[in-house]
Symmetry: C2
């Protein structure tokens, strides 16, 4: 493409994004879906779109839902959304499966979402998928939450599968994190204890009508009491029993979320949390920025191939690439 052609194409894309951002903020049908697709495709347009809508963000309540496979998270999210709708508020749902870049589209397909939600314009449901790395998925999901926020949704529910670090990353950027457990998890309680305890704001013991619910409740309470000593947390995550499939405990769960929000809203807590989350987002973007520069301006692939052939150590290679990026970017700024 010629310089002028590239310039025109860039201008056209910029106009498209301006228009899309305006349609999103004015809550036009299908604007959110199109906008999220822009995020998923990544690249410059992802950044440009977020920058255009960011001024309209900060109003929605962001809730993360995580827990092991089979805990009934999607049913729980459906019922939460239903209860939120009954209160006359709107809700966006983002479903994230960081363990598989392939299943993004399938996550919705293999579950039965509430029929009433699927046809309700006050509800937006989307499975997140990206072509890039895991980090890209967490970032795109957080950006998508911003889009829903800017589009005026009162609540954004982010649902993940599993309880690994990716899920932690995905839900780390919300106001309230729900960790869903089920009776008879056995060893999985250990997994929750190890990885998720630190980020849980509310525990949900779902399928609480099953055998072993009392024991799992006691296990959770024990783990929580230990965690409390360890971290000196001032917020002790409550444990809420639910039977999502029968819509039991959903109002109690919303109450617990409201209590957490009230606690967060005291003093500087919510601001401090969101400031720290902004820092993590900036970290992620900065890291991907240097990598993109290393590829585009410092011959990343070529240098790795050369370094490999020469048995050069990875730290030396990284430093050389970093210096190459600095030289190229400094020259570009001067030009």
């Amino acid at each position: 493409m010629s310089g002028a052609g590239a310039h025109r194409a860039a201008a056209r894309r910029a106009v498209d994004l301006d228009e899309l951002a305006e349609r999103l903020k004015s809550r036009a049908p299908r604007a959110v879906g199109r906008a999220i697709s822009v995020l998923e495709a990544g690249g410059e347009r992802q950044a440009e779109l977020v920058r255009r809508v960011y001024g309209a963000t900060g109003r929605a309540r962001l809730i993360g839902v995580t827990g092991p496979p089979g805990a009934g998270k999607s049913t729980l999210v459906d019922r939460l959304a239903g209860a939120i709708r009954k209160r006359g508020q709107t809700v966006g749902i983002l479903c994230v499966d960081p363990t598989s870049p392939f299943s993004g589209g399938a996550l919705l397909g293999d579950r039965i979402r509430m029929q009433s939600l699927a046809t309700d314009p006050g509800v937006f449901i989307r499975s997140m998928a990206t072509r890039g790395a895991m980090g890209g998925l967490a970032r795109a999901t957080r950006d998508a939450a911003d889009l829903l926020d800017a589009a005026g949704f009162d609540w954004v529910l982010v649902e993940t599968v599993g309880v690994g670090q990716d899920e932690v990353d995905v839900v780390a950027s919300v106001d309230t994190v729900l960790v869903v457990a089920v009776p008879g998890m056995g060893d999985d309680i250990q997994a929750i204890k190890a990885g998720i305890m630190e980020i849980a704001d509310v525990f949900v013991l779902n399928k609480a009508d099953r055998d072993g619910a009392d024991r799992t409740y006691r296990d959770l309470a024990l783990v929580l009491s230990l965690a409390e000593e360890m971290t000196e947390a001032t917020w002790l995550p409550p444990i809420v029993k639910t039977v999502a499939a029968r819509s039991e405990g959903i109002e109690e769960l919303l109450d617990a979320i409201a209590k957490h929000h009230a606690w967060l809203s005291e003093g500087d807590r919510l601001a401090a949390r969101r400031r720290s989350q902004l820092g993590l987002r900036v970290e992620t973007i900065l890291k991907e920025r240097v990598l993109a520069a290393a590829r585009a301006e410092a011959g990343f692939e070529r240098e790795v191939a050369r370094g490999f052939a020469a048995h050069e150590d990875p730290y030396r290679l990284a430093e050389e690439l970093f210096e190459g990026v600095v030289r190229a970017e400094a020259a570009r700024t001067e030009a």
Copy 2:
């Protein structure tokens, strides 16, 4: 500390690292343990130490072992190590728990390692822990494998808990990845299918004497056959049945590992794999390099606080920080 004092301290640390690297390469007792502690502490010294020993790496066989909690991975690793020792070869074992920054030290403590291994100088066992982030743990573990390699260990076994992306990152840098399953995993087969399938070189069906072993074997074989179509892999991961607690199937597993190594050694495969792994290591180091520069030279925390107060979007903040890093680094290079 004065400039001269800092200079002397830096020189002394450099001498320490020179000495440590030499002692490591000459296989002095306790050198490996001390060297890994240097890695875990992170910072400049981690890079400096790896750079000093890297020339002596590339000879060891690197094996990763991952799978869900309760699959019997540590017993399996112990028996593998025992079988390797019977062949007169040496083995280093690194145990990694990415789900908890706290449990690094506890991982060994709550398991009973084979007494014979613990007192055998041909075996080195270490739980990995870092003070930093998850990415830091994967990086320190890969660096520790280099140290063991440079110290002349014939094999390095990297054992993780869980099957999340962190585990994938931790074991992604080995020659052969073993994924351990157990009968009756139920939904967990799905988890394996989603996240781990792509990186498994050998499947181990451990506790294969239990009820449901045949069904889990069939499930795994089915998943494998689907994956084969999907990825057009030329290496079809075999499924090896073991009962690690009774040392059954261990020789067959070593045979499967040897077959995979023979396959890798054909043509450019092993080189291509290690080159790609080097690229991933360089990526990680480069990302952490820019973040360190943003903190040290571009006022990361201050800028995030300012940007948060001004409701600046994270992409703009990241770009400003990146430009700040480039300016500072370019000025430093010129000076």
